[in-house]
Amino acid sequence: MARVLARKAVEPRAWLLWVHGLGVAPLVFFGIGFWRGMYWINPLQVAIQRSGDAAVLLLLASLACTPLSWVRGWAWFVRWRRPLGLYAFAYALAHVVLYAGVDYAWNWGWLGAEFREKPYLWFGAAAFLILSILAVTSLRRIQRRLGWRWKVLHRLVYASALLVLVHLVLVVKGDALRLRGDVWKPWLVGAGVGVLLGGRLLRMAWKSMKRRL
């Protein structure tokens, strides 16, 4: 135990760099690609797609922190959860603003028509709503005020991940369930969410079993 605590104390300096490195990496990659002229013809389409990708990846990274913290000596991983989750929210916010604000120029008539007819947007919007609530309630003050409820509320992050998965299944070109078309992304994200959520559920089951024995 003492060793674990000692490591925990050593980690913080390095971790800030890593967390923020991970967080801004997608933006840096996009910036380099943009500067090299890889997206100039239809930059908005690429920006909407890449911001969505970054949001999902960081959301998965944030979800991975809890299982990683179970490893002996890695308890400090729990502290990555919040910043990575906030980065995920930031990219999701950019994704939504690029779509509704830039592509559709806040044209509510057009946006309304799109939302009425396209289920993929319902799932994306629900996921975004959850992420927004989690982002706001991640402020330390609110966190303390919510107490045990905070923990329950923030389990919604898994619901958000599942909603994003459906958003992604519906948004790719092809039929993800029949494995036809350009469908590797939802399978990748599905595998990630599956492992991370499955891992937590398994551990919960294992613990409650041990308690009963």
Partner: protein, 318 residues
């Protein structure tokens, strides 16, 4: 100027005016290449690679379509290509397709015709006089361009082959060559790319086989050496790198409607009234413009083609 592949003498295949404008442009080619070398230093503007010489001399006779919409710049037309045989990344296709071999190239015309035959691309270029057609291209993804194609109406080729009375559809098959087209190694698509038209659509004068754009031969990324252009349908109907044209009695299967039938229909007429599960079909983004614009029924060609679909429920036959 050097083309990558032999061409019949331009005077043989090109209308006189176009030919002359191209000559005039040749003289400007040198100064133009200097300009491009300069522009290459600027960030944000992807320029044709130095060996991409053919792209130094784009020239169209017209500068806008019949509605007054300006041509999409040559660089955008040749560097933003939905061509899954090479890549799903539209701006990567030009690079990946650079060494694509377009000679020798033989096209087979068969199926329900009295005169099935094969024809080499050079003979094809000699057999039909080329004309410039400035068409809007509307991609199902919700973006669009205006492109000055060089080609000839498909009906000229079909009439030569003499379709039988029983022929009702035309099936098009693209090249299958995974060595040259790395995207075809993706097993999740039923390669080769196939497309189809109803015979009356195929015989419509707006339907052309294109061999060039902007007054020069097609570059590989645009579907060289021979592609279909059906301006009132979503872009995916306009199959590229055609090797076989076949008349059939049954409606042929097409690649995208096989991949996701609920999204991509056989007809795929541009129609703002029929929604797609992902992209808006009510509005579109013209490449180079900031604001979305409303999409027109039949991509603005309703007057010429709407009668083909009289009595059909277009939300069923999408």
């Amino acid at each position: 100027m050097r083309f990558k592949y032999p061409l019949p003498r331009s005077s043989e295949i090109t209308p006189e005016a176009l030919f002359r404008s191209r000559r005039r442009f040749l003289q400007g080619a040198l100064s133009l290449s200097a300009g491009i070398a300069l522009a290459a230093c600027l960030p944000g503007t992807q320029n044709p690679a130095p060996d991409d010489v053919t792209s130094l001399t784009p020239q169209a006779t017209g500068s806008a379509d019949e509605r007054g919409d300006a041509l999409t710049p040559f660089d955008a037309v040749t560097h933003y290509n939905n061509y899954y045989e090479f890549s799903a990344d539209k701006q990567a296709v030009a690079r990946l397709a650079r060494d694509f071999q377009v000679r020798p190239w033989v096209v087979e015309i068969g199926g329900l015709v009295h005169k099935p035959h094969t024809i080499g691309i050079e003979d094809l270029l000699r057999a039909f006089s080329l004309e410039e057609r400035i068409y809007r291209l509307r991609c199902v993804e919700g973006w669009s361009m205006v492109i000055p194609w060089l080609g000839f109406p498909l009906h000229r080729l079909l009439e030569r082959a003499e379709p039988m009375g029983s022929a009702r559809f035309v099936r098009f098959v693209a090249l299958y060559d995974p060595e040259q087209m790395p995207g075809q190694k993706n097993p999740l698509f039923p390669w080769p790319y196939t497309e189809g038209l109803r015979l009356d659509e195929a015989l419509h004068d707006l339907t052309i086989l294109a061999v060039g754009l902007y007054g020069q031969m097609l570059l590989p990324q645009n579907g060289a050496p021979l592609r279909l252009v059906v301006p009132w349908k979503y872009g995916f109907k306009s199959i590229k790198a055609i090797v076989r044209i076949e008349l059939t009695e049954e409606q042929p299967a097409t690649l995208w409607s096989t991949v996701a039938p609920q999204e991509y229909g056989f007809y795929a007429n541009v129609n703002p009234e029929v929604p797609h599960p992902r992209w808006s079909q009510a509005t579109e983004r013209r490449i180079g413009e900031n604001e979305r614009r409303p999409t027109l029924p039949f991509n603005g060609y309703a007057e010429q083609v709407a009668s083909l679909y009289q009595g059909m429920d277009l939300s069923v036959y999408y």
